[in-house]
């Protein structure tokens, strides 16, 4: 369980995050999504105790991070954006050191090292110097150090960055496996990753929470109206007119590349309306066979762009502009 309550972090006058409230529950992967500089890493910094918030309260497993940092850190696994590695050590030496630092002793050290090397596919690399590893393997070592103490809370900053597709699939299934009984929070600017892994997504922009929901709900909420794709065998002009005339239709755009003698349209439907039955009967009455009818899903990528490019002009800026004139 991770809870942020009205957390603000300022770097001098620069806003890192502003009045951010977030909750991640056990067994859940919470995705932090946002462009560079949105405040994802700062959020992770205050959760892990690396940064002290300027205002607000951060709780991990019900423990206040500011009051009992050491207690929180015992239950934490953190993979920063740049994996914290010592190039002069071998993979095995490094993981052994991390295990000891995280409080494992005796036989448990060896067991933990062997377990995480197996889980992250590092067994063959254990005697290699970290400085000689490729980017993908360095990332894995970073992940291995984060999970070595079997933490209840995992904070992963861009865990799959720089990995090849095969490795990404492996790491994703590992994260899913780990999330079963843990609280996981991960950041990414790769949208498919977040929608694939996370049950809930928090979108940050300029240090503020823009939206927080399931990927599906975000898609719905954002669209306002929903979109249908319609393909009909019949003359484009007439069919277009017919569709436009139905109640609940907001906008109709012709789509390219329909089959011969057919036409395709993208239809925006008002929120809460379902025009499909009406559409079917209207077309049937005219004798135009309906070839295809389906709801379009907006990809998270579109939502993301939608959310972060919608930039309200702040009052002060508007005033300044007026004053300048």
């Amino acid at each position: 369980m991770i809870r942020l309550e009205n957390v603000t972090k300022l770097y001098g006058n620069q806003v890192g995050i502003k009045n951010l409230s977030l909750t991640a529950r056990p067994g859940e992967i919470l995705g932090l999504l946002g462009p560079n500089g949105a405040g994802k890493s700062t959020t992770m910094g205050v959760i892990t105790g690396y940064l002290t918030p300027t205002a607000g309260r951060v709780e991990v497993l019900g423990i206040d991070v500011a009051e009992h940092p050491l207690e929180v850190k015992k239950h934490l696994g953190y993979l920063p954006e740049v994996p914290p590695l010592y190039d002069e050590l071998t993979v095995e030496e490094y993981l052994k050191f991390v295990a000891e630092i995280k409080g494992l002793r005796g036989k448990k050290v060896r067991e933990a090292v062997n377990r995480v090397m197996l889980e992250t596919g590092l067994a063959a690399m254990q005697r290699r110097l970290i400085g000689h590893l490729s980017h993908g393997f360095r990332q894995r070592v970073g992940l291995a150090q984060a999970i070595i103490n079997d933490p209840a809370v995992l904070v992963l900053d861009e865990p799959t960055s720089g990995l090849d597709p095969q490795q990404i699939t492996e790491i994703r299934s590992l994260i899913r496996e780990l999330a079963r009984d843990r609280t996981v929070i991960l950041s990414s600017h790769i949208l498919p990753e977040v929608s694939m892994l996370c049950r809930r997504v928090a979108i940050l922009n300029h240090g503020e929470l823009v939206a927080e929901d399931t990927p599906e709900n975000l898609a719905q909420r954002l669209q306002g109206g929903r979109m249908l794709t319609v393909t009909v065998r019949g003359p484009a002009a007439e069919v277009g007119e017919l569709v436009r005339g139905l109640p609940g239709v907001e906008k109709v755009d012709a789509l390219e590349g329909a089959e011969p003698e057919s036409c395709s349209f993208s239809v925006v439907v008002s929120k809460g309306k379902d025009i499909r039955p009406d559409l079917f009967f209207a077309l049937a009455a005219k004798g135009y066979p309906l070839l295809e009818l389906k709801w379009q899903s907006t990809s998270l990528e579109e939502i993301f762009l939608n959310l972060v490019t919608r930039e309200p002009i702040p009052e002060s800026a508007a005033k300044e502009e007026a004053a300048a004139l």
């Binding site: 105790g49 002290t52 953190y78 920063p80 740049v82 914290p84 010592y86 630092i101 995280k102 409080g103």
Partner: protein, 235 residues
């Protein structure tokens, strides 16, 4: 316990880096020259000349050794690991100090060869030799603490090294003007001089004041290092 694991790793990192070995080589080469030079010039079986000169080599050996201690952790991103691990900053700083001290003590251990040579050549005063070793070790520890503090303020090793060198040089020459300023200020400046507190040790005197001075310097600069690292979370 944490300090032990951290210090072990730190010492290992030292011994795996070419820098430490190059530094030790320079240190031994200069040591050998100063030792034989002192004997040839004075003809006496003692280590006073050796330690008086080796104290000066600390001015550049220590910054070169300590500059990486924290600056490198910042530059490599491993600071994030150390500061989010279940460790206190005091543990981290203590471990780093002990590792650097251990490396320097290792170098001192090698210098016992000179003592062996002296005992063959003549009959050295064991009291003076013991006092010299004690004083030099204390001076070394104080210099390492200064260097560690300098490393804690930057993520650039170059900046850390130069800061350490500047600080140490200042602490070396701080008493030069002591006779030309008002007496009160003069005695304060004299009391702050790093090599000034070594002289009695080299004469064979173990004076509590000097021991307290060096230990205070160690604690003071380690405290500053802890504070400087801890305040980074507020940045």
């Amino acid at each position: 316990m944490n300090v032990w694991y951290l210090a072990k790793k730190e010492l290992r990192s030292y011994l795996l880096s070419p820098l430490a070995w190059v530094l030790l080589a320079v240190y031994f080469a200069l040591g050998g020259y100063f030792f034989s030079g002192a004997i040839i010039i004075t003809g006496r079986a003692d280590m006073t000349g050796y330690f008086a000169n080796m104290a000066i080599t600390l001015l550049f050996v220590v910054p070169a050794l300590t500059m990486r201690l924290w600056a490198e952790e910042e530059a490599r991103g491993t600071a994030r690991f150390l500061l989010t691990a279940p460790l206190t900053v005091t543990e981290v700083v203590t471990a780093k100090f002990l590792a650097a001290l251990a490396l320097m003590l290792l170098a001192e251990l090698v210098s016992l060869v000179y003592v062996l040579i002296l005992s063959r050549l003549g009959s050295p005063d064991w009291g003076i030799i013991f006092a010299s070793y004690l004083g030099f070790t204390l001076l070394m520890a104080a210099c390492l603490a200064v260097g560690l503090f300098a490393s804690s303020i930057s993520s650039s090793q170059m900046v850390a090294g130069l800061t350490a060198f500047g600080l140490l040089l200042l602490l070396w020459v701080v008493d030069w003007v002591s006779s030309s300023v008002p007496a009160g200020l003069g005695s304060v400046l004299k009391a702050l001089s790093f090599p000034g507190h070594l002289i009695d040790f080299l004469k064979g005197m173990v004076v509590t004041d000097h021991i307290v001075f060096y230990l205070s310097a160690v604690f003071f600069f380690l405290f500053l290092a802890v504070e400087s690292i801890a305040k980074r979370t507020w940045a």
